[in-house]
């Protein structure tokens, strides 16, 4: 730390210097800019504004002349004469002509009006408290002297008349009396107008409002004179100034003499003898018709103002100088010439001169100001750049470090900036940098202080802001130091929390049971429904909300139904035996998906179980086949050699007998092995029946024919009943033959010799099954249940000494099962009964191939 050299940018003095240069250069450039603008405005002032200013003053005066002088305006700025003639105790205003306006306005006390009578005697003059700030009643000051024209677009035009104490009593009385009458006659309730501005926009102005019926409301000092306004019909907007100066006979003052007033009740009340009369006669103004004549009148020579200045000598205007001549010719016979003067007196306190003089001074250096402004800005930019680079570095620490100042929320700077900008703008627009301010001695000191302080403050602020901003940007603490940044961080945190809560909620919801989910959903639906019902403004919006809700509900229900249908299809397939079917999981959500998964699990289990059992069945069958094969080979040798032995010449009878026993038993073994193979195949489903249309009657008779001789040998008589009616069934003839073979063989073996065997086939009309019944009398007592008989290796006689495997009935039953034939055994004492129930097929119902199949698959035809 110690060995580090202090760098330039860590020098506080340099930074201070840079900051100072910043502030000063910015302030200087600001002022330079202001002065540049003022210089530009200066020209305008002399060329245009000054004239306008005077014009307005004159216009105001002329306007006021038509309304007579009001209290306030007489405190005003104008001086002039109005001829008022008095004859027979009556005053007649012959001529209202402003000859001179000496001017200053505002709070000037050296401006006044002089109203002189025909003899030139001053009727009225004033120098008192000229204050235009209050203006005419109903008019704002600024409006008066800047932009206002007044128009009164109602049928009845009221002009403002004010009582003025400076009038002679007779005049005041006459005027007020007259106005009273007019006012009463017209019962005006309000006075309003539209202020039209130069820039084209207009405002509605309510000037006065009175209750015309209640006399008490009448203002003490204000009276109204009605001008009948004929211009309205033309759509023109009459303005008082225009009325007068246009000299339109229809709207001249003469029209409102009492005799001409269109208010008969009022007129009749008037008594000329009793009351002082006030007559307004037509204003006749005669002016030079042409420019030349006017020039001849006034010429290049200024009018002799001394004529008028005699009265105002006392006001300190010794040598008034003509500044502006205002002339306006409106019509041939009505021309008003107003001449306005501004006394040119350097020592005068007329602020107009001050303004002009001071701006003139500024104007002298007008070329310098823009250059200074640009230079100031450049200086500011350079020093600000240096400052921005350097600030943030302080000696002991390495790298830029924010100070406490840089931790202040940036919004405060922004706020201050806005405030300062607003203040500057306000001060500027309030005229702090305007000519008027310069011209006003009363406010000069304060103004100057403000003028300097505000730009200085603003510059200092800008510099400070720049410094801290650069530090913040350099140390990447801008957002952190911003309230906005804090707010954003807090908002982010809140949103994160909210997401967490939502997630938890969703998790919680998903763990709910379906019932509760459904209940919740229905409650939600009802809630929205209720809300819609309560808050819907009308039936249409309620209907709309309900339709939307119902559409949502329908979509949800349809989605659920779709899922349910899919699962139903799947379960149908599984139930139909298609164990390899898989559920369609597309568009399945939530509980239904879970259900589909579970069902698939069940299906998987079934598939596995079926596979397992199939495999084990196949293994079992294979085992039996192999075993029987392996048994057959040695058996073959046994059978053959016994046979050979039996053919040998053997003397011993005993030996012959033994050989016969072996022969018999080996034959039996052979049969046993064959039957075993057969029964295992039949019961394990390894035999596929080959169904075809079979004549059951024929099958039975064929079978019996095969056994005819065996029956005879066994000393049995067969009683066969075969119906006339054909019995057609869908059977595998070869398998069926084996069934009958086994049964008939059984009968031959186990029947009591000399008995009858009843074999019958029968079917009833309309029945869908035929029955083949075998009945025989058992040779031995059958103390066994019919079910046991069909079990493997069980025989009716327990001795087992006869030929047979005991598998016959079992094979028969298995083969019947394969062909959907019912196999039923019953025992009634010695009566053994076997019954086959064969399902019949209709004529149209042929289960399998129409081609006659081979009765034996090992037929030679297969070889071809």
């Amino acid at each position: 730390m110690e060995n580090r050299k202090k760098t330039l940018r860590e020098s506080a003095a340099l930074k201070f210097l840079a900051a100072t240069i910043c502030i000063i250069s910015l302030t200087v450039s600001f002022f330079s800019a202001i002065f540049s603008v003022i210089c530009w405005q200066n020209n305008v002032f002399f060329e245009d504004d000054h004239e306008t200013f005077l014009n307005n003053v004159i216009a105001m005066f002329v306007d006021d002349r038509t309304t007579d002088f009001c209290v306030e305006i007489t405190n005003g700025i104008m001086a002039g004469t109005i001829d008022v003639t008095e004859s027979d105790g009556k005053y007649t205003i012959d001529r209202g002509d402003v000859e001179k306006v000496f001017g200053r306005y505002g709070n000037a006390d050296n401006v006044g009006f002089i109203i002189a009578d025909a003899e030139g005697n001053t009727v009225f003059s004033t120098v008192e408290g000229c204050d235009l700030s209050t203006g005419l009643p109903g008019f704002e000051r600024t409006e008066i002297y800047r932009d206002l024209w007044v128009s009164i677009p109602t049928d009845d035009t009221y002009l403002h008349k004010s009582y003025y104490s400076g009038y002679s009593d007779a005049l005041n009385n006459a005027v007020s009396e007259y106005y009273n009458l007019v006012w009463a006659g017209h019962s005006a309730v309000s006075l309003s107008g539209t202020a039209e501005y130069f820039d084209g926009h207009s405002d509605y102005v309510l000037l006065m409002s009175y209750d015309g019926v209640n006399e008490n409301v009448m203002p003490e000092y204000e009276y109204y004179l009605e001008y009948w306004n004929g211009c309205i019909d033309d759509g023109e907007v009459p303005i008082p100034f225009d009325f007068y100066t246009r000299g339109d006979p229809d709207i001249s003052l003469s029209q409102v003499t009492p005799a001409a007033t269109a208010a008969p009740p009022v007129t009749e009340k008037l008594s000329p003898e009793d009351k002082p009369q006030f007559a307004v006669t037509s204003v006749t103004e005669t002016y030079a018709e042409t420019e030349e004549e006017r020039a001849a009148d006034h010429g290049e020579n200024p009018p002799d103002v001394s004529e008028y200045t005699s009265g105002i000598q006392s006001y300190g205007m010794d040598t008034p100088t003509l500044m502006v001549t205002y002339e306006e010719q409106k019509s041939e016979n009505c021309e008003l010439q107003v001449v306005a003067y501004i006394a040119e007196d350097p020592d005068s306190i007329d602020e107009i001169f001050y303004a002009r003089n001071s701006t003139a001074l500024i104007a002298k250096y007008s070329r310098f100001f823009p250059v200074a402004a640009v230079l100031g800005v450049l200086t500011f930019l350079i020093s600000a750049f240096c400052l921005a680079c350097a600030c943030g570095y302080r000696y002991p620490a390495e790298g830029p470090k924010p100070s406490w100042f840089d931790m202040i929320p940036f919004e405060i700077f922004a706020l201050f900036g806005v405030l300062l900008a607003g203040l500057t703008a306000d001060v500027y627009y309030e005229g702090a940098y305007s000519l008027e301010t310069f011209a006003n001695s009363n406010v000069r000191l304060f103004t100057l202080a403000t003028e300097i302080a505000i730009p200085f403050l603003a510059s200092a602020f800008v510099t400070l802001t720049l410094m801290t901003l650069s530090v913040r940007l350099k140390t990447h603490t801008f957002w952190r130091s911003c309230l906005c940044g804090w707010a954003a961080m807090i908002l982010r945190w809140l949103i994160k929390k909210l997401f967490g809560v939502c997630k938890k909620l969703i998790k919680l919801l998903s763990q709910l049971k379906l019932v509760w989910k459904t209940v919740l959903a229905m409650l939600g639906f009802t809630f929205f429904e209720t809300v819609a019902l309560v808050f819907a403004r009308d039936a249409a919006s309620y209907l709309l909300v309900m339709i939307c809700l119902n559409i949502l509900l329908s979509i949800a229900m349809a989605a659920w139904a779709l899922g349910f249908t899919k699962i139903r299809d799947y379960t149908k397939k599984i139930a139909g035996g298609d164990i390899n079917a898989r559920p369609d999981r597309e568009f399945l959500f939530g509980e239904l998906r879970g259900m589909a998964d579970d069902l698939d699990g069940v299906g998987e289990g079934v598939r596995r179980a079926v596979d397992e059992s199939l495999r084990s069945e196949r293994l079992k069958t294979e085992l039996i086949t192999n075993v029987s094969h392996d048994l057959k080979t040695p058996l073959t040798s046994i059978v053959n050699y016994i046979d050979i032995l039996s053919k040998d010449e053997i003397e011993s009878e005993e030996a012959k007998e033994h050989i016969a026993v072996i022969q018999r038993q080996s034959a039996r073994m052979k049969k046993l092995i064959e039957d075993l193979t057969e029964v295992s195949k039949a019961s394990s489903g390894n035999i596929t029946p080959n169904f075809e249309r079979t004549d059951v009657n024929l099958l039975l008779s064929q079978s019996i024919a095969e056994y005819a001789e065996k029956f005879a040998l066994a000393n049995l008589e067969s009683v066969v009943t075969i119906p006339e009616r054909a019995i057609t069934a869908s059977l595998d003839g070869r398998l069926m033959w084996r069934v009958l073979d086994n049964l008939l063989n059984n009968i031959c073996k186990y029947s009591q010799p000399g008995t009858r065997v009843y074999i019958s086939a029968e079917t009833s009309e309309g029945s869908d099954a035929a029955a083949i019944t075998f009945k025989n009398v058992s040779r031995t007592a059958l103390n066994i249940s019919p079910d046991e008989l069909t079990e493997r290796f069980v025989r009716g006689d327990s001795s087992r000494n006869t030929e047979g495997s005991g598998l016959g009935l079992s094979i028969a039953k298995s083969l019947c099962d394969i062909q959907n034939v019912g196999f039923k055994l019953s025992i009634d004492g010695d009566l053994f009964k076997a019954e086959l129930k064969i399902p019949l097929c209709g004529d149209a119902e042929i289960l399998f191939d129409p081609e006659p199949p081979e009765e034996n698959p090992s037929d030679g035809e297969e070889a071809k």
Partner: protein, 233 residues
């Protein structure tokens, strides 16, 4: 003197067969697997082969398909494999007969004799329009005689008529009623059983093993037919 090749891996069975067949006067060759059998067949004039299927090395099926490429000597499978599938495979490969173990020696002798006779007699007799020959059964309509493998068979008149009818329409299944109609010439009245008994009698006379008929077959539930196939079990 006919030469018979016995091929079986079970020497005891071969010995027993030798005893039976030499008793009949045949000249015997022995083989204990397919390869030996093929070797003998190639080097000797053999009139009949008795072939086991399950043998070490070249088994019976492979041996048969090999020997069928150079000879059409009658081959009788003699095997413990009694499955239908095995029979079909064996016969399709070109075996002439299929006898399952344990076999009946008498039946086997009859079959051997039948096949040899047929093999050596084939085409030797002049054809006559009155003679119907299917397999080993020969029906001569001109003198109403029937021989099986050259041996005359005594049939009753009705039996001859039925056999004649069925042989003339070999391969077609006829129900008893149809047979009656065609043979007797009138409509049957409850004669099913009579026809069935006649058929059984014929079978007993012309078949080696009536329980497993080779020519006159029962189509259960449909009727009877005379199989026109030459090869049969």
């Amino acid at each position: 003197m006919y030469n018979i090749l016995i091929c079986d891996d079970e020497r005891d069975i071969v010995s027993a067969l030798k005893i039976y067949l030499s008793g009949e006067g045949y000249n015997l060759f022995e083989a204990y697997n397919g390869a030996e059998a093929l070797e003998i067949l190639r080097s000797n004039k053999i009139h009949l082969v008795l072939l086991d299927i399950m043998m070490p090395g070249v088994d019976g099926l492979a041996a048969l398909s090999e020997m069928r490429s150079f000879t059409n000597v009658p081959v009788i499978f003699l095997t413990a494999k009694s499955e239908d599938v095995d029979k079909i495979v064996g016969l399709n490969l070109g075996a002439d007969d299929y006898v399952t173990k344990p076999f009946n020696p008498i039946e086997l002798m009859a079959r051997v004799k039948s096949h040899i006779r047929r093999y050596v007699m084939l085409g030797s007799l002049p054809e006559s329009p009155d003679v119907i020959r299917i397999g080993g059964v020969e029906l001569n309509d001109s003198d109403r005689t029937v021989t099986v493998d050259g041996e005359p068979v005594k049939l009753t008149a009705k039996e001859y008529d039925i056999l004649n009818f069925l042989m003339s329409n070999a391969g077609v299944i006829y129900s008893p009623a149809e047979i009656y109609c065609r043979v007797w010439g009138n409509v049957p009245v409850g004669v099913d059983n009579a026809i069935a008994v006649h058929i059984r009698h014929i079978r007993e006379k012309i078949e080696i093993n009536p329980a497993e008929p080779r020519y006159l077959k029962v189509v259960w539930g449909r009727g009877y037919k005379f199989d026109k196939s030459d090869k049969d079990d």
